[in-house]
């Protein structure tokens, strides 16, 4: 290496180009990234010792939402599909699990059935919706509008179909018991449940990381960068987009099932456009196309929302709206992007200093 690294413009935060917190980047100095990642994981592992109980509760739900954010990042950050309705799958998974627990039972077998149904059914729905729309070459704009409408409709249906969803009052769900069906079953709450969520998020992150590094994932990046070229090269772009939408919807549904296990309550807004746009803001602020950005954005914004917002003279949503505008205008690469730029500047300065020293006659 040495001091001859030119200050070339990197595609900061862009998928496929190394981001500071990604661990699996060939040929890049890993010390900085691994350190940060270790720090993050360490914080999560030791949080119960540092934070108060109610903060752990908030953090648990943030971890679940972070999984939701990763599913959106796969779709948006990597493939470039902007959806304003992904919460439909989140809420769908939640209502599926919730209905099973409420109507059938709370034993481990039901829980596993709920996890499976809450993942597979939203995933299938996503495949169908995406398959139909993408195969007809619907423009990106129209697709986004349709997903917005989908979220609004879904919430309205959840409100009015009260026989199933208990309408606007929401569904209270009895606590679930996890374990081995017929052998052992315990309710999972508090700190043990928190650690379960940490594990699930880590696993989800690793799976997502594996996906984006695979040929499939690289094809998604190609489609995002230049879909015309990708098609001309031989990529069946419709199929890739449909598949990633299905995977992403399934992941969102899975997060939804965890939501119910955590909160034991679901109401229509979980399916709606506010929830769908919140996750977009989390991913954007954290840094799209990095996976870690989604986790970062979700945890930090939800933290602020739950702690600081009470102290504000005006509403959190107003802050969010302004943050959204500013981020889009000034920091479209999000927090991860800002960190990356800072690291580049530091590295360049270090390299400049090294060159200065190497011209020192005493050496």
């Amino acid at each position: 290496m040495g001091g001859d690294e030119s200050t070339t413009e990197r595609a900061v935060g862009a998928p496929g180009v190394a981001s500071p917190l990604s661990v699996s980047v060939a040929g890049r100095e890993l010390s900085g990234t691994t350190a940060l990642a270790a720090l993050g994981v360490g914080f999560l592992l030791f949080a119960p010792a540092i934070l108060a109980d109610y903060l752990i509760q908030i953090l648990t739900l943030s971890l679940i939402f972070a999984l939701f954010a990763i599913s959106v990042d796969l779709l948006w950050g990597y493939t470039g599909i902007l959806t304003f309705g992904h919460a439909v799958f989140l809420g769908g998974g939640a209502y599926l699990m919730g209905t099973l627990l409420e109507a059938v039972g709370t034993g481990p077998a039901i829980v596993y059935a709920g996890l499976a149904a809450g993942t597979v059914l939203p995933g299938l729905l996503g495949l169908v919706v995406a398959g139909v729309l993408f195969s007809r070459g619907i423009s990106e704009d129209y697709f986004t509008i349709i997903t917005l409408a989908l979220a609004i409709i879904a919430e309205q249906i959840a409100v009015s179909w009260s026989s199933v969803t208990n309408g606007a009052n929401g569904l209270l769900v009895p606590p679930a018991r996890v374990g081995i069906p017929g052998v052992v079953a315990t309710e999972l709450t508090g700190v043990p449940f928190y650690y379960l969520c940490v594990g699930v998020l880590l696993a989800g992150y690793l799976v997502a990381r594996r996906i984006v590094d695979s040929p499939f994932g690289r094809a998604l990046v190609a489609i995002n960068e230049n879909e015309t070229k990708a098609t001309a090269l031989g990529y069946d772009t419709e199929k890739y987009k449909t598949l990633v939408f299905g995977v992403s919807s399934g992941m969102a549904g899975f997060a939804g099932t965890l939501y119910v296990l955590s909160e034991r309550f679901i109401s229509p807004p979980l399916l709606g456009f506010v929830q769908s746009t919140d996750v977009l803001i989390w991913v954007l602020v954290g840094g799209r196309g990095t996976l870690v950005g989604g986790i970062l954005g979700t945890i930090s914004l939800r933290f602020f929302e739950n702690t600081i917002s009470g102290a504000l003279a005006f509403s959190w949503i107003l802050v969010l709206g302004i943050v959204l505008i500013l981020i889009v205008l000034l920091f479209p690469e999000g927090l991860v992007g800002v960190v990356e730029v800072a690291r580049e500047r530091l590295r360049d300065r270090r390299d400049d200093e090294a060159t200065d020293h190497s011209s020192d006659p005493d050496l």
Partner: protein
């Protein structure tokens, strides 16, 4: 649930149903026209469009209730106020995002959130009422119908017609329309792009502000009232064919017409769902819209 048998049709009911549907269609057409100018010309998806609608309604509420000036000053002010808001959005935000149009969706969503919350802050989140400025009804032989609604339909029809005439008969209008059909023409025609963008944003916003002001006496005025008009306006534009202006006519007829009739016969939620499915089906079958793809 209302069921209407074909035999023994109640002509009065049918007439008022038809008039209700027509007024919904015309209001939506006004809003959709504003969106067609913005989306068709600049290609910006302005998610603040619904918020503009809401601002229009609040202006009217302000003048008729809080400020005590009356409904009509507000009615005239609303398009101007919203035009200013639209212009500000363009100058402060959209203008910087022309290289990355996809991000305008998010930025304008931020604007929508900010406007919604600002309204809540200033006027609190309670829904408001705006009194009917033209109470009473008109005898139309088959039925009697609200004077205000008739007035509203007239205004909407006139404004829409005027806008179409402006775009088809005047020099400036024809040029603008040519650019809507093919944005690469702008520089060839020697037009000042910045001015055109600003003008169309302001103009499109004014139209939806007028729509919001017009609807205010007929519905509850609350901070989120615009979101359904946002979606329906986009549906109307998409159905008719983005890149055309005339497309919003069949688009509005289908979206507002079905929605209105469906709400009466079934229920609001089912009607909205059916409209949504219909729009998706039509888009899937004909992605360029009914009158698009020239």
């Amino acid at each position: 649930m209302n069921c209407l048998l074909l035999a023994g049709v109640d002509t009065e009911l049918v007439a008022s149903l038809a008039l209700n549907a027509l007024s919904s269609i015309l209001i939506l057409a006004l809003s959709a026209l504003g969106l067609a100018v913005i989306y068709g010309f600049i290609g910006v998806i302005n998610l603040a469009h619904g918020a503009y609608f809401t601002v229009g309604a609040y202006v009217v509420w302000l003048t008729s209730t809080e400020l005590g000036i009356g409904f009509w000053p507000g009615f005239l002010l609303a398009p101007l106020v919203v035009a200013v808001v639209g212009l500000l959005t363009e100058v402060l935000i959209i203008q910087h995002l022309y290289e990355r149009l996809l991000d305008t969706i998010l930025a304008t969503w931020g604007v929508a959130l900010a406007i919604g919350e600002a309204i809540k802050l200033l006027f609190n989140a309670q829904s408001k009422e705006v009194g009917n400025p033209l109470p009473g009804s008109v005898d139309l032989v088959v039925t009697t119908y609200s004077t205000y609604r008739l007035f509203l339909m007239g205004v909407a029809a006139v404004v829409i017609t005027v806008v179409f005439v402006l775009f088809t008969r005047t020099d400036a209008g024809v040029r603008l329309r040519a650019v809507i059909q093919d944005p690469t023409q702008a520089s060839l025609l020697g037009l000042n792009e910045t001015r055109m963008y600003q003008f169309s944003f302001a103009f499109g916003s004014a139209l939806v502000g007028l729509a919001g002001a017009a609807v205010a006496p007929l519905t509850t005025v609350e901070p989120n009232m615009g979101i359904s008009y946002l979606v329906q306006s986009f549906f109307a534009v998409i159905l008719g064919g983005a890149g055309t202006l005339i497309g919003i006519v069949p688009g509005s007829v289908i979206v507002a017409g079905f929605s209105n009739v469906g709400t009466f016969f079934i229920s609001p939620v089912v009607a909205q769902t059916l409209v949504f499915l219909l729009v998706v089906a039509l888009i899937v079958v004909r992605p360029e819209g009914l009158l698009g793809g020239q």
